[in-house]
């Protein structure tokens, strides 16, 4: 069991209100050492606001936060914590390396770490170029490098793949997986279900500032569908409705979607073929974020 006093991240009823509405509402979050925790939620769910509060950038309206047992704003609060919040931001008139040197000084670190973190994010070759000339992918990687300066045991990363092209995203995810495998605790926010599925151990789902569910990542499959194309489609649909009930069978033109467990696929195939129905496609479709929300919360619409 986890000692709540020294958990890498621990919040109690953490709340931030803007005007009348709560951007983050009584959030209770506990992240265990070594865990890669996905903080999943659509845009405006309150992910960034939560991370800003954890980092002391934004003052909570109420509630408390502790990192490694240290209270928000106490001395050494951000020791062994590295963070990247809402996109990278550096001095455009400095090179990547100079930016990191300046930040190392702000952190009270030896500049010797700079070369190591540049290597880690594979930016050494372009480290002497002005930050203003970097692509978004390079800027994000420099952001990760800055977060690694203090050799943190806790990394807090806010949508680090946001805005990247597919190749940049794949690179960044590989880097994130590598960082997670080095024994660090990682708090990774994202609005992409597939991303947290690829990278994280456990997922907390945030909707309108409320943590609506927490699951090991393997249990996020609920809400997926078995997709089936068969001929004749009407006969297939009738058989499936008879077997599973009409509310678990959906039909869009020739495509039938079944709300059943993925292991049912083999039995369904045998049954339909045995009845003289030709099955031309039968596959498992992972749930999208909306379906996961539905399966976790019963809310049919993702909060905008």
């Amino acid at each position: 069991m986890l000692d709540a006093m020294t958990a890498p991240v621990r919040t109690d009823a953490l709340t931030k209100r803007y005007g009348g509405s709560a951007a983050v509402d009584e959030l209770n979050l506990t992240i265990e050492p070594g865990e890669v925790y996905g903080f999943l939620g659509p845009n405006a769910a309150g992910k960034t606001t939560t991370l800003r509060m954890l980092l002391g950038l934004v003052t909570p309206t109420s509630g408390t936060a502790r990192l490694h047992g240290r209270h928000l704003g106490s001395r050494g609060y951000l020791d062994d914590v590295g963070a990247l919040v809402e996109g990278p931001a550096f001095y455009p008139f400095l090179s990547g390396r100079e930016n990191l040197r300046v930040l190392a000084r702000h952190a009270g670190m030896a500049a010797a770490r700079v070369a190591a973190v540049l290597d880690e994010v594979e930016l050494t070759e372009r480290a002497s170029d002005k930050y203003a000339t970097y692509s978004l992918g390079m800027k994000q990687r420099l952001g990760i490098a800055a977060a690694l300066l203090k050799e943190p045991t806790l990394l807090i990363l806010d949508e680090p793949t946001n805005g990247l092209d597919p190749a940049g995203m794949a690179d960044m995810r590989a880097l994130l997986r590598r960082l997670g495998e080095q024994g660090r605790t990682v708090l990774l926010s994202s609005h992409l279900l597939s991303e947290v599925q690829q990278i994280c151990d456990r997922v907390g789902v945030l909707s309108r500032g409320v943590l609506v569910a927490e699951r090991p990542v393997g249990e996020l499959g609920a809400g997926g569908r078995l997709v089936l194309v068969a001929e004749p489609a009407d006969a297939a649909q009738a058989r499936l409705v008879a077997a599973y009930g009409s509310d678990r069978v959906r039909r869009h033109d020739d495509v039938i979607e079944l709300d059943v467990d993925s292991v049912a696929a083999a039995a369904i195939n045998t049954d339909l073929v045995g009845a003289g129905i030709a099955v031309s496609e039968l596959r498992w479709r992972r749930p999208n974020l909306e379906e996961v929300f539905f399966s976790l919360t019963g809310e049919s619409r993702v909060a905008a």
Binding site: R52, L55, G56, L57, V58, T59, G76, Y77, L78, D79, V81, G82, A83, L84, V85, E86, G87, P88, A89, F90, Y91, P92, F93, L94, E98, R101, V102, L103, A104, R105, H106, A107, G108, G143, A146, A147, L149, K150
Partner: protein, 275 residues
């Protein structure tokens, strides 16, 4: 943590091209208005204006301290405001507050580092203006065959101290504006409007008409900066230079403004959300 944070701020200040541009403009303006134009006027008039000897005297080594600091109440002060805005405002415009503060230093430490960088930068600005004014006055003396009568060292030191105080006060005014308005453009604009327009309007139009504005004026930063440099030898015909109050009182008031701007900037920064 303070010392490394001061070094971080100095590294940023040194590498920001705009700071060097500000220094170059301060040097150019000071030389132009204290030496080039007066010299052109002195050398150009064949008849000789009635006060041409006075004009020459103001360009000789004995007067260089006043020339170096004479621009500080207004135009060099305006450049110092921009410097102060840049030191703080860049963190807003480049959104780097979150990047810096995520490294763990307290806001107070970072702010103190920035004040230290402002103190160093305004000292450099003052020393450079004093040095180029001394060089220009030596050149005039050599060309005109006049004696090199340098002022006593104490006067030079006093001028440097006053120049530093005035430019640091204006720079911390800029720093406060940057924290209040969270950026660069608006704080620079408003700072310059205050320095170049409002102060002038108050002094030249409002004060002569309305008694209490005239009294109020005596407590404002501009007239006190002007009185301080006037007490240390700046020529009274320079815009913004006026011996409205005594030098000692002016030094106290300017120092009070410097402290007030710095403290309120730090206070505001410590309690505002970084978004």
């Amino acid at each position: 943590m303070l010392l490394p944070n001061i070094r971080a701020e100095l590294a940023k200040a040194l590498r920001r091209p705009a700071n060097w541009l500000l220094l170059a403009i301060a040097v150019t303006l000071t030389l132009t208005f204290a030496y080039l134009i007066p010299y052109a006027g002195y050398a150009g008039g064949t008849e000789g204006p009635p006060n041409s000897d006075l004009g020459l005297k103001s360009m000789l080594p004995g007067e260089f301290v006043g020339n170096a600091i004479g621009g500080m109440p207004v135009f060099v002060g305006a450049l110092a405001v921009i410097l102060g805005v840049l030191v703080l405002g860049t963190e807003y415009s480049a959104q780097t507050w979150k990047t810096v503060l995520s490294q763990g230093p307290s806001r107070g430490t970072v702010f103190a580092g920035k004040l230290a960088a402002i103190a160093v930068a305004t000292m450099v600005l003052t020393l450079v203006l004093v040095a180029v004014s001394a060089a220009a006055s030596a050149l005039v003396a050599a060309v005109e065959g006049q004696p090199f009568d340098w002022p006593p060292l104490a006067d030079v030191a006093g001028g440097i101290g006053a120049g530093w105080l005035v430019t640091a006060m204006w720079a911390s005014f800029g720093a406060l504006l940057a924290v209040v308005f969270r950026g660069i453009a608006l704080p620079v604009g408003l700072g310059l409007v205050w320095l170049l327009a409002v102060q002038n309007l108050l002094a030249s139009i409002a004060a002569p008409l309305v008694g209490w504005i005239a009294d109020l004026q005596l407590g404002l930063p501009g007239p006190n900066a002007g009185s301080l440099v006037a007490a240390l030898g700046a020529r009274a015909d320079t815009p913004g230079v006026a011996d409205a109050v005594g030098g000692g009182q002016a030094a106290l008031v300017v120092t009070a403004y410097l402290v007030a701007f710095a403290v309120s900037g730090g206070w505001l920064l410590s309690r505002s959300d970084i978004t």
